[in-house]
Symmetry: D2
Subunit: 355 residues, 4 copies
């Protein structure tokens, strides 16, 4: 008798949803993609061609999909604005949940997902921080964890997208929550991973410019942002995000400890080819994050499946996802107001710097 | 109705055979691993645990396996000495064949596989030159093909293994065919790819030392070899292979043209982590070829499957595999005798240099 | 008749002073090191052995040295606390001046040097921002200047020293002005170079920790600092400085424009050797800034000499040096108070953020 | 009293001669450039402008220059064809000699310089193998010497010039001695350095093509050459030289030992700037060898001067220079005839391979 496979549905078949669907369909041996939901006609057409023939039932109603017979887990990859609502519905329907980041652009709404999950401790509810599954980040974390750099103290991390001259991200900015919530949420999560989930924010300050898309201003957003987060206990994280890289995607991280430094992806590349030309030596770099993190997403799908099937603890907790949104939102507030925000040692907002 | 999947069997469940089996089982959506053969007890035990539960039937008799109902394709990953015999049997049984490199350590035997395949033009018979499926090599080849480096003229390529202090490869050398046939066969195949399959060898010279394993001498083999192959038409390839790398596997290639140069994997790495320590900046490199070429093997499995199912031409011809063995064997002869070997413009062996 | 050589004196024969002395003695063909001053016995002994035999007269009184017959130019490399006083004296004595950075740790005192220099427009008075003479920075600047990255918008730069476990820099911190004035002054100067000397600061915020030297706190200083400077007109610079690098000195800069990015020294190295070992691939990096900038200091000596002899304009203005101190001091204030500082479009300090 | 300075003359003021002259004039504090010789009008004009004003007397007659009062040392940087004759004359006139590589393109003539030098053991006679003075090569050699890579066994080295489309090197080939004597002479010298000067050649084989300059064939030369040299005792060196690099000069070396590998200049660069552009990430590389080895030439001038003034032993022996020419000429013969050449354990030429 063949081993049991997890019955999974994917909600949303946009750019990332379609990828999740294919990962669960073809690259997650212990899972079975039994259903998919999308309200979008184009996405539906894609599903009809690429999923249906392989036994995936398509739904245009999310609630109907949740009732799919035998369904055990839902991957939520719809627009950010409905992440939380769909996650909570799935939890209430007793499904395991893998929800794309961020849980929400609102601190309270994010917390409501955490609260819903707490009521069903038997369910696996995870936020899709894909970098947590990347072998390079894991290697760095293990080195850090075994003390190879002493006490990690400074954390620098950036998420930098290739310039999309279509102006797509201006429209997108209306709902994305802003550059710190949308892009740097990954870096914030990494900081909490490397510094420890118990880290308490002491201050937050954000800075930004609109170098290529002045229209972002109307949504209080920028195309290049720098954020600094001080933690109580002598730890400092600083972030950079950008929407205007010429060469391609460059997400990188540096963890500096008292005895050494770890760098992840300091020198990005699309593949292992170098070209020597009359103009010098050149390499290409990935055009988008999927070129960098494809394998991490596949590992994520497989590990999430394993945790559900074998009732193993997830590799990281859902509470961190709400904490990351909280920090991201504080950075956005600092960006909008131009003010530095302060917190006391219990994490409560205060008026003035506490030295 | 779910689309049809190719029914595949793997022969040999050793290091590479087990990997092939898992690739076809889990990472090749259009294939189904219906059978596997191994005469070895340990390998059988591995199969019982890792393949049988998923529906793969295990055989200890190759001929029996060939009779597995509905079987369409065989992957041959047994020891080199039986590659050819098993490939021919599979061809005669009307199965598609993916045979690990080299076809054989003998020129004549290799040719016999090519001859057998010619009689069944409807079958897909391919030699497993995994680098042909590596995205970096493909990118380099496309650039070369579109003229970006002018006329490719000098080809340098190396296959360098991490030192295995167990002395394993001394015993292995007895049947491997020697370092040029076993290791550089990949580089030779690449040279024929980049210079074109119609390239005619003009001369062959090989050199070698036994720096760490003097016992290799008794099999006429070395642990470090340098080979030079001149082609008619002003093209030159030179190869290096080694069994004594300290840091790990380093397979790299350089294609130099009249207007530029392409390099593949000049700076090997295990992942994207760099460590800054009191002793400097360090990165690790993959311990073996699978760390470098895992994805290429998966692509190979998928493309071979597509070609079989869709009756598409294979990405490269089987004749090249015999040609590569021929060049590898000539290098081994040159190594053993210390002599340079010469060939005329028709590829016929001659006594003296023709300038 | 041999061409005329500039008669130069060096004040201070400590670490950097001794180097300046040797550069002017041996590596600046158009200059002649006629005199040197030091109040320190050890330094004097060094001068007796290394300078005097080549015709350099040694002084223990700075004012006496200024009266050295025919003296035309003075290089000031004494402790920071006397830079300004000595510079002003030299200017008043009609000598050209090359003064080590910073002019002073005080904004007002720095300005007094600028004022003194203004009264003697015939004199060449320059602050020793050595990176301005580094061929890589110059190449980057030229590329930037010719528009190759569009409009420079984000500037990231760091000055990171190898950890000196002797605790030397704690004592040093008492007079250094703090990490932003002592280390990042170079990065600040570079920002003013790449963004243009007319750039007006909009806000300043600094953050820091004492990861390895808690005693620095008593001087209001840190061993790791992050500073962010917003400029009016949509430009943003952020800086990092550290005293705890394990591997060695790492000073690097990234200039991000609307159409591209320039990076200087992203991957530091001591020389061109790479070591492949059982632990991976390793390179060493320079132990201190002189290992990185030696040639820049030599170019500085030669160009300063040329400007004096040929009455050519200096490559950059003295006013920028005072501006850099001003920004550095603002960062130190922000670090000490935990507050973000704001400035209006005329550069005047204001209370609240102006958006 | 100022310390004594070595009185030096430079013969030849062509590309490299002019550089030597300036190095001794401006960058060698313990030397004095008292004289220079050139038979060429253009070069003379250059000397009149750049050397004479600083006290260097110019000669158009080499023998006259040798009689310059007080002259102690001669740097020979004329065309290769007169190196030996001028070196011998200088030795006979009791001058120290720094002679550019190669001593000659003839084995016998090279030996005659060695013989002349032997008769004057008090003189310092050195061949200008500039790489011996390069800090990276020295660092690699020291690591090798202290056993960090075990027993050095495989040596790979290349000298690759940027393509000069003027066809200059075709005319030049008539007198250069061929690509192995002209270019790879450096790599051969390095092999003798790293393997030890007592190494005995066992076989020599060379291969080459004329990819961009077919006219080189008439001088028995090529524009891309691969040479392999086996040494008795289980050591193997292989070389590559090229005149058609698109991006610039790339001279690199790899020393592979039983326990590790050292690489020098695997990734060439012109400076520390990296450009991120829409086409990827790019760096430039030096256009010619001087861009790579400028500092090595300056160190060479200074160390040669020190040896002469302080009667210290030179860093390497002149005999090696003749040995390098011998190997280079053997490679050229192998290239011309297409034959592999064999030598017995005493270094005597033999007919057949000795295994």
């Amino acid at each position: 008798m063949a081993p049991r496979r997890l019955k999974v549905a994917v909600a949303g078949l946009g750019r990332m949803g379609a990828r999740h669907a294919l990962h669960f369909l073809n690259r997650t041996p212990r899972a079975e993609l039994v259903a998919a939901f999308t309200p979008d006609e184009k996405e539906l057409a894609w599903g009809t061609q690429n999923l249906e023939p392989y036994g995936t039932k398509l739904y245009t109603d999310y609630d109907e999909m949740l009732k799919h017979e035998g369904l055990e887990a839902v991957v939520i990859a719809t627009v950010t604005t409905v992440h939380a609502e769909q996650a909570i519905k799935a939890i209430e329907a007793d499904k395991h949940v893998l929800c794309e980041k961020p849980l929400s652009t609102s601190v309270e709404v994010s917390q409501s997902v955490v609260d819903a999950a707490k009521k069903k401790p038997n369910l696996k509810v995870m936020c899709g921080f894909s970098r947590r599954f990347d072998p390079s980040y894991r290697d760095a974390w293990n080195r850090c964890d075994t003390g190879s750099i002493g006490r990690p103290s400074i954390f620098r991390s950036q998420t930098c997208d290739k310039l999309d001259p279509s102006g797509f991200f201006v429209a997108y900015a209306e709902f994305s929550g802003g550059i710190f919530v949308d892009c740097n949420i990954h870096d914030i999560d990494l900081a909490l991973w490397f510094f420890g989930p118990e880290s308490i924010v002491k201050s937050v300050a954000a800075f930004g410019i609109t170098a290529v898309e002045p229209d972002l201003r109307k949504f209080g957003d920028v195309d290049n942002g720098v954020g600094v987060v001080e933690f109580w206990g002598g730890k400092l994280a600083y972030f950079y995000s950008s929407r205007m890289m010429a060469a391609g995607q460059h997400d990188m991280t540096e963890v500096i400890g008292t005895e050494g430094k770890l760098t992840v992806n300091a020198n990005p590349f699309a593949n292992l080819v170098e070209m020597s030309e009359t103009t010098g030596v050149r390499r290409e770099i990935p055009p988008h994050y999927y070129g960098r993190f494809e394998q991490a997403f596949v590992v994520e799908a497989n590990e999430f499946t394993d945790c559900c099937l074998d009732d193993k603890p997830l590799p990281f907790k859902l509470t961190g996802a709400a904490q990351a949104v909280k920090i991201g939102c504080a950075l956005q507030e600092s960006l909008r107001t131009g003010k530095k925000l302060f917190f006391d040692e219990t994490g409560r907002r205060i008026e003035h710097a506490q030295l």
